[in-house]
C-alpha cells in the first residue's frame, strides 16, 4: 500500500477527532465556568459540589475516568436498576469535558479573583447587584485573563482525544492503529499520525490566539 492510500481513512478519523475536540472543549468550558464560579459561591452546598468535582477530576487520571464511565458506570447503573450504558462517543466526550472542565475551573476562578477590587467598588457605588457585577463587570474582564490558559487546555484536550481510541471510538489514533494492524507499516503511519496531530494543534492554537485577541480587544496597549 502506498502512503497516500492511508490518507482517506486517516482524514475520516481526523474529522472524528475534530468533532470530539470541539464538543468536549465547549462542554468543558461550560463546566469550567460553572465550577469556577461555584467555587467562589457563598452558598456552601454549591461551593462544596464545585470543590469536590474539581478535586476528584484533577486528582485522578483521565484514562481512569474514561474507563470508569465506560466500563464501571453501567455496572453501577445495573445495581440501582438504571441503564447507564454509554455509547463510546458519549463516554469519550463526557470524560474529556469533565476532565478539562476541572482544570479550566481553576483557571476561571483565578481569573475572576484577579479582577481588581477597584472594579467591585465602582460597581457597588453604581448600585449593581452582586449578580450583575459578576456577569457585566467581573467575568468580561476575567475572560481575556483566562484565554492563554484556555488555549493550552484546548491543545491538551485535542491530544487527550487520542485516548478515546482505547474504547474503540473511530478517531484519528484508532484509524491509524487499524491501518498499522493491516499493513505493519509502523514508521510511515505513525509519522503521518504525529504530523496530523501537530498540524491540528497549530491550527487550534492559531484559532485560540485570534479568539484571545478578539475578547481582549479593549486591552490593546496604549499607543
Amino acid at each position: 500500500m502506498h502512503w497516500t492510500e492511508y490518507l482517506p481513512p486517516l482524514m475520516e478519523g481526523a474529522w472524528v477527532t475534530i468533532q470530539l475536540t470541539v464538543y468536549s472543549t465547549v462542554l468543558g468550558a461550560a463546566l469550567a465556568f460553572a465550577a469556577g464560579i461555584g467555587k467562589l459561591s457563598s452558598n456552601w452546598l454549591i461551593k462544596a459540589v464545585s470543590v469536590a468535582y474539581i478535586e476528584v477530576f484533577r486528582g485522578t487520571s483521565l484514562l481512569v475516568q474514561l474507563f470508569w464511565l465506560y466500563f464501571a458506570l453501567p455496572i453501577a447503573g445495573m445495581a440501582i436498576g438504571i441503564d447507564l450504558r454509554l455509547p463510546p462517543v458519549a463516554a469519550g466526550v463526557l470524560a474529556l469535558s469533565l476532565n478539562i472542565g476541572a482544570y479550566g475551573a481553576e483557571v476561571v476562578r483565578g481569573a475572576i479573583q484577579s479582577v481588581h477590587q477597584d472594579q467591585h467598588e465602582a460597581a457597588r457605588a453604581l448600585n449593581f447587584t452582586p449578580r450583575q457585577t459578576l456577569w457585566n463587570i467581573t467575568i468580561p474582564q476575567a475572560i481575556p485573563e483566562m484565554m492563554p490558559s484556555f488555549g493550552n487546555l484546548a491543545v491538551q484536550n485535542l491530544k487527550d482525544t487520542a485516548l478515546v481510541s482505547l474504547i474503540s471510538l473511530g478517531d484519528l489514533a484508532f484509524r491509524a492503529e487499524q491501518i498499522r494492524n493491516y499493513t505493519q507499516d509502523s514508521t510511515t503511519i505513525y509519522s503521518m499520525l504525529l504530523v496530523t496531530y501537530f498540524g491540528m494543534a497549530l491550527v487550534l492554537t492559531a484559532i485560540m490566539r485570534s479568539l484571545e485577541a478578539y475578547v481582549g480587544r479593549w486591552r490593546t496597549a496604549r499607543s
Binding site: 477597584d118 472594579q119 449593581f128 450583575q132 457585566n136 463587570i137 474582564q141 479593549w218 486591552r219
Partner: protein, 258 residues
Amino acid sequence: MTDDPIIKFDSVVKRFGDLTVLDELNFEVKKGEKVSIIGPSGSGKSTVLRILMTLEEINGGMVTVGGEPLWHEKAADGSLKPASEAHLRKMRVQLGMVFQQFNLFPHMTVLRNITEAPTKVLGLSKAEAKERAEELLELVGLADQASKYPHQLSGGQQQRVGIARALAMRPNVLLFDEPTSALDPELVGEVLNVIGKLAEEHDLTMLLVTHEMRFAREISDRVCFFDQGRIREEGAPEDLFTDPNEERTREFLKAVLD
C-alpha cells in the same frame, strides 16, 4: 441650600484592626452644600466618603442620609438592626462617587461606562440612557470620545468620564475622593474645571476630599480640617484658610501651601 442636613454622622467610630480611623466623628452636610474635607493623609478623610458609599462598614455610632439611617434599618419591633443588602441598595440610590483611580470599566466604551448602570440598575431604556449620557459627555467636554475605550483616553479625560458616569445615576449627593490625586499636574485643571462648573450650576450636594487647597477655597461653602479621625476645625473657606483658630490647622496649611 436649606437647613436640613442631608448627611449626618453621629459619634461614628471606624476601626481597622487596632487603628481607630474615625474617633466618634460628628459631622453634617446640608442639602445643596459644597463641603471640602482637607487634612493630612491617614486622617480618615477618604473613609468618610467610603462609609457613605457603603464601601466600608462602621463600628459604632450612626450615619443618616436624607434623614434615614444608612447602616441601620428598623426591625419589625421598631428597634434598629444592621442594614441588609436590600436597605443599602435602596440608600445607595441617593449617592454617587468619583474615585481617585477613576475605576472606569476597561472593557466598556466611554458611552457604555455611562449607560450601563442606568439601564441595568435604574431600568432606563437604551435610548434614554444614551441621550442622558450624551448630555453628560457634552457637560464634561468629551462629546467626541463616546466610542473610545478608557485606555485610549488621558487620565484627565478618564476622570471626566468618571464624573459623567456618577452623574448619570442622578444622585442627590456626589462624593469626590481625591479626584485629581492620580493625575499628572497638567491634567488637573480640566477636571477641576468640570467640578467647579457642577458646583456653580447645580444644586447637587457635593462632598470633596482634596489636596487642592486653592480649588477647595474657590468652590466650597464650608471647609473641614480633619485630623486623627475627627474634625479639628471647620468654617467658611475665607476664615479657615486666612485665619485658622487651631495651631494644627495652621501648621497643616503652612506645610501644604508653601
